[in-house]
């Protein structure tokens, strides 16, 4: 952090106001239920329209109205979109947290606060702007019902004036936000403009922060990971989604409901996607397993507690070899934990989910683009491997707005895997003189399946979670059991080849490696630049799926020192790496944050510089 704020601090200290342009963060503190999300979205969309790389983080409570909420908007001319621990500007609209919010401002920071609070200027080293929220609303003649819900537009106008967002841009952003609806956009804009003008007349700009147009967002989109996941699933041919509401996964299914019309049957115009709200997560899991068994592409989305409830069914799908897709939008656990805080804490549990010898494939998207890609790819993998595929996203990736290149739609045709229709079954039997459901004909551990409805006298087989032989008949014979588990292990080896391979940036000359995964990516990338600036050169491998592949292990071994960066408390990926690497791994250090917030470059920077200075020992 020191590193990063020197400039501002100096700027402030020697009184000279050399401007800070498109490289600072603004935080809005409100109470939830006040609808501030809309105002914040307008601000984000405005900057996005100005061509400034931007990212937003919504820190909201597990509650419906009245508890503290913080929304951080970061503008970065360098295109950094990770969370930043410190924000230079605080719009404090929540009296109960104002004191602490102001305390957290760095020297040279800015505080925008309602006049009516008559808040004392407790700090010398920051700039205060007091704004007339109530007045402005009262003045703008809008129906009383709407005054309350529109109040937050005041700070939008003030910020626009202070930091330089053109009014026409805000107008556009308002229309974006209200889906083109003129009337509400108009009503809100009225308030924004009034505040904008008030600020022009009454405020003396005395801070260095400025937004200026760039063209770095052209052609890009702003979307949440959960929407991307839903779209990806629909493009992947999903026809059944079963779910039970749980934060932060609910918006995945909300998006499926919003977009499922794109899958209407062109001829009949009939819906082809069934969305079932189950009575709980056990039922949701059972439903997608039933659907997957019957030949549909079926998905559920949940979070930690739901994953725990799906444990028994996960084992059934694994052992009976039924394709289906389970999204875990992780939140902070154990137990109910913090439903509105982010974490990567389910990794280890998912990988080994269910009793007995089980090991699952887990995909780890790092961005909204990968949420989309893994959305459809997961179904291909599920069919190719005839097993449940888990996709672990998280609250930060899933619920926040992210800037992204437009999604590249699947070009390859859907991969059905080894599913035999009537004719194929006929041909198969002709060739092999037999067809046994669980026999490994190809030596890859994946057998051939049929689905119900296949009009062939020999198509049927008996699916069960109990011990079975190649012919899918019940067997208590030890040799049958061992043979079957041996094949499942082989299948896992096949999985290592099919799953998304790690993304590696490697240069033999660099002695330090960073391993990470998922939504940590932006923070890691930014941290690498900061480290480089400090003279610490690093390689980087991003794991995109479990089970681990050889490349990961080689990378871990080919460095003097490796930092495994993740956002849980126990360093779960670090533990999995240890499991899979028999060699000495004392040089592989776990950097596990797990402080309920998204990963930051500053934290990584601080950790690694510290550890690189002192002689390394086991953490």
């Amino acid at each position: 952090m020191v590193v990063e704020f020197q400039t501002n601090v100096q700027a402030h200290q020697n009184g000279q106001q050399e401007p800070i342009v498109n490289d600072f963060a603004l935080m809005v503190a409100t109470k939830n239920g006040s609808g501030s999300q809309t105002s914040n979205e307008v601000l984000i969309r405005s900057l996005f329209r100005m061509g400034i790389p931007v990212s937003g983080k919504n820190l909201f409570p597990s509650n419906i109205k009245g508890l503290p909420t913080w929304y951080t908007i970061r503008a970065s001319k360098d295109g950094y979109i990770a969370r930043r621990a410190t924000t230079e500007i605080a719009v404090t609209m929540n009296e109960s947290t104002a004191a602490e919010d102001i305390q957290n401002l760095p020297p040279g920071g800015v505080c925008i606060i309602p006049q009516e609070w008559k808040w004392g200027h407790s700090r010398e080293d920051i700039v205060y702007y007091e704004i007339p929220v109530k007045e402005t609303i009262a003045a703008s003649n809008i129906p009383s019902d709407f005054r309350d819900r529109i109040a937050n537009m005041v700070y939008v106008g003030v910020c626009a004036q202070l930091f330089g967002i053109p009014m026409d841009i805000v107008r556009q952003a308002l229309l974006d936000t209200f889906g083109g609806k003129e009337k509400p956009a108009q009503m809100n804009f009225g308030v924004v403009e009034r505040a904008f003008n008030w600020a022009a007349e009454n405020l003396v700009k005395s801070d260095p922060y400025r937004f200026e147009p760039l063209n770095l967002t052209a052609g890009k989109i702003l979307i949440t990971g959960n929407e991307a996941a839903a779209l990806g699933s629909l493009f992947g041919g999903m026809t059944v989604a079963a779910w039970y509401p749980i934060t932060p996964s609910t918006s995945v299914i909300d998006a499926v409901l919003d977009y499922k019309h794109i899958r209407r049957d062109p001829e009949t115009g009939k819906e082809t996607v069934a969305v079932i709200q189950a009575e709980d997560e056990l039922a949701a899991a059972g439903m997608i397993i039933g659907a997957g068994w019957a030949g549909a592409r079926a998905m559920t989305a949940t979070s930690g507690p739901g994953i725990s409830l799906m444990a028994e069914f996960a084992g059934l799908a694994y052992f009976a070899e039924i394709p289906c897709v389970i999204w875990d939008i992780t939140r902070m656990g154990p137990s109910t934990g913090l439903p509105t805080r982010t974490s990567q804490g389910d990794l280890l549990f998912i990988h080994f989910l269910s009793h007995g010898d089980t090991k699952h494939v887990v995909l780890l998207p790092d961005s909204v683009a990968e949420c989309f890609e893994f959305g459809w790819r997961a179904f291909d993998l599920a069919d190719q491997l005839q097993t449940p595929i888990f996709v672990m996203s998280d609250l930060d990736l899933g619920m926040n707005l992210w800037m992204s290149e437009p999604f590249t739609y699947p070009t390859e045709p859907i991969k059905q895997g080894k599913t035999l229709n009537k004719e194929q079954l006929e041909a198969f039997i002709a060739e092999h003189g037999e067809w046994y459901r669980y026999k490994d004909y190809d030596g890859d551990g994946v057998a051939y399946r049929t689905v119900p409805g296949t009009d062939h006298p020999r198509a049927a087989y008996f699916t069960r979670g109990t011990g079975h032989n190649e012919k899918a008949t019940y067997s208590e014979r030890g040799d049958d059991w061992v043979n079957n588990l041996g094949r499942l292990r082989k299948k896992l080896e096949t999985a290592r080849k099919l799953i998304p391979q790690p993304v590696v940036d490697y240069d033999a000359s660099k002695p330090i490696g960073i391993i990470s995964y998922g939504s940590n990516d932006p923070a890691v990338k930014e941290a690498r630049d900061l480290l480089a600036a400090e003279g610490i050169q690093t390689n980087y491998l991003r794991i995109r799926a479990l089970p681990l592949t050889q490349d990961v292990i080689d990378f871990a071994l080919n460095h003097q020192r490796v930092y495994v960066i993740e956002n849980n408390f126990d360093g779960q990926m670090h533990q999995i790496l240890r499991m899979e690497i028999p060699q000495d791994t004392r040089h592989m250090i776990s950097l596990a944050l797990g402080d309920t917030l998204p990963m930051t470059a500053q934290w990584i920077l601080a950790q690694i510089t510290r550890l690189e200075q002192q002689p390394v020992q086991e953490k």
């Binding site: 056990l282 039922a283 397993i289 119900p452």
Partner: protein
């Protein structure tokens, strides 16, 4: 004689049963076979689902050419729901037990019914956990005694009443030994468009053994006495039994003796009962509960 699809009745069989000789569940499997044969069901369009239990094993014993899914204990309704919704061209036959449906599965059972997903849902109801060797299930009669687990002090759940209250559109009860009635109800159930619940009393010949049951049959008791002092059952010993059958008329009430000498009373609904009258269905079931007898027949349906 081949049916319209050119299939013999034997084509509708499954693999040989591994249940105890005389188990009521096997009689039900046989009736499913006959029903499918009579109705010319295309087996490739039939799916068989079950939970876990002796009853849930039975899908292996009928319709060998249909896909089957022996899922997990008590949560089959969700699996059946998913499969049926995935391909609405399928004819779904779900088989469960009273433990599978009434104890661990009660929640899923009720929600399945609430969704009214089209399928025949058969409960092979013996009031005990057969496969785990005879603990009480949620449908065991209050006051019943079992050799090992003693007295059951909890009221019995009536899974038909539960279904009707929960919004079921087809609810019937029968007795495994009443081939004719099981047949008829199965055929009606298959043609119903919605969840068709069939609660079939199906005695467990092995664990429903209550020599001193408070409902036991005088004669039964007496003729046991002489040997009583000798009486011993080797660990895990299971006696060969005859299937219990019952053939009786509409309106008639009969007493059926279980292998342990205890009895159950069955009353067959007659023309007097209008199955489209929800209130009447509930009322007669309540009365039957009070009179400790099982009403058999089609209790309720809604087009």
């Amino acid at each position: 004689m081949p049916n319209a699809l050119g299939l013999e009745r034997t084509d509708y069989k499954g693999s040989p049963s591994t249940l105890c000789p005389g188990c009521g569940h096997d009689s039900i499997s046989n009736q499913i076979i006959s029903m499918a044969y009579d109705l010319n069901l295309p087996m490739h369009r039939v799916i068989k689902l079950s939970g876990i239990g002796c009853s849930s094993k039975t899908p292996a014993y009928f319709l060998g050419r249909s896909h089957a899914f022996n899922a997990v204990h008590g949560r089959m309704p969700s699996v059946a729901t998913g499969a049926t919704i995935a391909n609405n061209d399928l004819i779904t036959i779900a088989v469960s037990g009273d433990g599978d449906t009434g104890s661990i599965g009660l929640g899923q059972y009720k929600h399945l019914i609430r969704r009214n997903v089209p399928m025949v849902y058969i409960i092979e109801n013996n009031g005990v956990y057969g496969l785990t060797k005879g603990q009480f299930s949620a449908t065991a009669d209050e006051g019943q005694k079992l050799k090992y687990y003693g007295l059951n002090e909890l009221p019995a759940l009536d899974l038909c009443l539960e279904a009707i209250i929960g919004g079921a559109t087809f609810v019937a009860r029968s007795f495994s030994g009443d081939a004719k009635q099981v047949q008829t109800l199965l055929k009606a159930a298959v043609s119903h468009r919605g969840t068709a619940v069939l609660d079939i009393i199906s005695p467990c010949v092995t664990f429903n053994n209550a020599p001193d049951s408070n409902k036991s049959y005088p004669y039964g008791k007496e003729h046991e006495i002489p040997l009583h002092e000798y009486d011993f059952i080797p660990v895990g010993y299971v006696q060969e039994r005859e299937e219990i059958t019952a053939d009786y008329e509409e309106g008639q009430t009969i007493q059926v003796e279980m292998h342990d000498g205890s009895i159950i009373r069955l009353k067959k609904l007659d023309k007097g009962h209008d199955p489209r009258n929800r209130h009447q269905a509930i009322t007669v079931l309540e009365e039957a509960q009070r009179d400790q007898l099982f009403l058999t027949g089609l209790l309720y349906y809604e087009e």
